[in-house]
């Protein structure tokens, strides 16, 4: 790049460095200390915070919970999104309305969605309990969010409901980019539905879907708000993800230094995921 392009970029770079770099630098700095949220003496600890985090079995439990959340949520969002897109790609009456309706969950703010699902799961009058007892799947009302065995799955369901439309939307757009003549050519070539999907549709789906899924993974990995509103990481830490842990350490227990170091570990993992994402994008760019 020429000097001029750098100069033109400079104001934005400066702003970005300040907005992103400053808090990041602060987090890095704090993670090597025993800083408390409310101030007081601060001592340099070196890598001690990290050693403490990585040595604690509880940390790995939290990581495992996070991974389960990511796998279940994103996996289901992918499947459901793809199916919904294939369905909405068919011609039927009222397709436009259904397409518009499908976007609604995604347009809801996460906190609203989480609150709504808390009501749905309510152990005394929740719709979920009503439905399941009425169709005979369960005998008595249960506290879906209050039991360690079901809480994470319950949250996943709420998350899937909100986020599968994004995958569906991207998949639908991809489906519609499949040229009509290409589909016709496959019909004339004698390809059945499955061969048509594999030979004609999948090549157009795979790129956008990968991007959608990777984006969702990165996002799901950082999950905080939906869990915080629905369970605060409980019961018995069964829904405690890394973000919740960071928040609890830094703010509930006021251990800014320890929280900072966990946050930093999370940033590193995120960075790896993002590097993967960029690689995928670049590969797709080369293909074109």
């Amino acid at each position: 790049m020429s000097l001029r392009s750098w100069l033109l970029l400079a104001p934005l770079l400066a702003l970005m460095t300040f907005i992103i770099g400053w808090p990041l630098a602060k987090t890095v700095a704090v993670s090597f200390t025993d800083a408390k949220l409310l101030g007081g003496d601060v001592h340099w600890l070196g890598l001690a915070n990290f050693q403490r985090v990585l040595a604690a079995p509880a940390f790995y439990e939290v990581v495992w919970t996070t991974i389960r959340f990511v796998l279940i949520s994103v996996g289901a969002e992918f499947l459901l999104g793809l199916l919904a897109a294939l369905l909405l790609d068919q011609k039927f009456h009222g397709r436009g309305i259904v397409r518009a309706l499908m976007i609604l969950p995604w347009a809801l703010p996460t906190v609203v969605n989480a609150t709504m699902w808390r009501l749905i799961y309510n152990p005394d009058f929740g719709a979920f309990n009503a439905l399941f007892t009425q169709v005979g799947l369960i005998d008595a009302y249960r506290s879906w969010l209050g039991e360690p065995g079901s809480a994470l799955y319950a949250i996943c369901l709420a998350d899937v409901w909100k986020n599968f439309p994004l995958v569906a939307l991207i998949a639908l757009a991809a489906l519609q980019s499949v040229p009509r003549e290409l589909r016709a050519a496959a019909v004339i070539d004698g390809a059945g539905p499955w061969s048509r999907f594999r030979a004609v549709i999948l090549p157009y789906l795979i790129g956008p879907l990968t991007v959608a899924v990777v984006l969702r993974i990165i996002e799901a990995f950082k999950v905080f708000d939906i869990i915080w509103v629905m369970t605060r990481g409980g019961p018995a830490n069964s829904t405690k993800t890394i973000s919740i842990l960071v928040y609890q350490q830094a703010f509930s227990f006021q251990q800014a230094g320890l929280g900072g170091s966990i946050a930093l570990i999370m940033v590193l993992i995120s960075a790896l995921l993002i590097a993967g994402y960029v690689t995928i994008l670049r590969k797709q760019g080369e293909l074109k």
């Binding site: 016709a184 050519a185 019909v187 390809a191």
Partner: protein, 376 residues
């Protein structure tokens, strides 16, 4: 090797009738070109033959057998699309063989068929490439190869050359013609390019608003257009239309042009025209008609043209001269109408004056101004 018959094909989209009863009958090995302006229903008709669209009414027969209820893949037709529609993620070889693969042809046989077609189309060196790594002309060949490989009874082409640049288009046109001569397969070819239609077709069906205007050999369509629409559509520069009245003067029947700045001219019909439709012409005397003459049938008059009975001479104002190299287009004023003449370079030195011209009336067409139909 197959005949193709279309009987009363209709297609309705809601209240709109896109095809209004198409009847065409093709002999074995014919090259039919469906020609018409955008939106006239050419692609719809082609897709009906392919089985991608169901007709609202009518029948499609190959070798006398109705195929409207037959699935596209079992119709024994192959189609080449305007966008080529190659499978982007497959190699050229697999693109070529995909139809065979779907029909369960063994790999070795497939391979042989692919190689044969690739050799004919000179794309053997491209077999391992993906479509994205091909030029437009190469993609075109692959698309044609994909159609050829299955050895279908009928080829369908939907504007296959329209995405190529002008030079390549001419080259591929010639190649298509060679290919047809070599394979002898029945072809239905859609285009809105009249040159393509004229050069390729054994017969042309000119369509307008879902109706076939004329179905005939190219030269027949050019020389004897069935109506004003066809006459206008075919030929470049287009046919000249002279508005006037049919009159009997000095014992000869001819067209008296409308009176313009330079007066009116009387153009006697040639014997050929009169004989063809005597009664029809008699009935029209003293009534308005439109005379159609092709630009190349108008020449500069001289001593030899005056003697020829089929040449009608007239005096006209020369408004513009446009040299194109091979010939010079002269814009003349005949009566109230403008006439383009394809003159020899050097016939006239400059525009502005008047000159005498001769029109070959044996190649002229006479139309009814009300119905637009050909009288003779």
């Amino acid at each position: 090797m197959a005949t193709l018959t279309l009987q009363g094909i209709k297609k309705r989209y809601g209240p709109v009738e896109t095809l209004k009863g198409i009847d065409l009958d093709l002999e074995d090995g014919e090259f039919l070109v469906l020609l018409g302006s955008s939106g006239c229903g050419k692609s719809t008709l082609l897709n009906i033959i392919a089985g991608l669209i169901e007709p609202s009414d009518g029948d499609v027969l190959i070798d006398g057998q109705s195929i409207v209820r037959v699935h596209p893949k079992n119709r024994n037709i192959a189609m080449v699309f305007q966008s080529y529609a190659l499978y982007p993620n497959m190699t050229v070889a697999r693109n070529l063989g995909f139809g065979l693969e779907m029909r369960g042809v063994a790999k070795a046989d497939r391979q042989r068929a692919i190689e044969k077609v690739a050799a004919v189309l000179q794309i053997d060196h491209l077999l391992d490439r993906k479509p994205a790594a091909l030029s437009g002309g190469q993609r075109q060949r692959v698309a044609i190869g994909r159609a050829m490989v299955r050895d279908p009874k009928v080829f369908l082409f939907d504007e296959p050359l329209s995405n190529l640049d002008a030079k390549l288009r001419v080259e591929m046109r010639t190649e298509l013609k060679k290919l047809h001569q070599r394979l002898g397969t029945t072809i239905v070819y859609v285009t809105h390019d009249q040159i393509e239609a004229m050069t390729l077709a054994s017969r042309i069906a000119i369509m307008r608003d879902g109706v076939v205007q004329q179905f005939a050999a190219p030269q027949e369509i050019y020389e004897r257009p069935a109506n004003l629409y066809v006459a206008e559509f075919i030929g470049s520069p287009g046919m000249n239309f002279i508005h006037g009245e049919l009159r009997r003067q000095d014992g000869r029947i001819g067209i008296l042009s409308k009176t313009g700045a330079a007066g009116a001219s009387f153009l006697p019909l040639a014997a050929a025209n009169l004989a063809a439709a005597d009664a029809a012409i008699e009935a029209r005397i003293d009534r308005p008609v439109i005379l159609g003459i092709r630009p190349e049938t108008v020449t500069l008059a001289n001593s030899s043209t005056a003697a020829a009975p089929h040449l009608a001479s007239f005096e006209a104002q020369v408004e513009v001269l446009e040299p194109t190299g091979a010939d010079t287009l002269g814009t003349l004023r005949l009566g109230a109408d403008q006439v383009t003449a394809r003159l020899r370079p050097g016939d006239l030195q400059q525009a502005g004056g008047t000159a005498r011209f001769a029109a070959d009336m044996s190649r002229a067409s006479l139309f009814d101004p009300e119905t637009g139909l050909r009288i003779s």
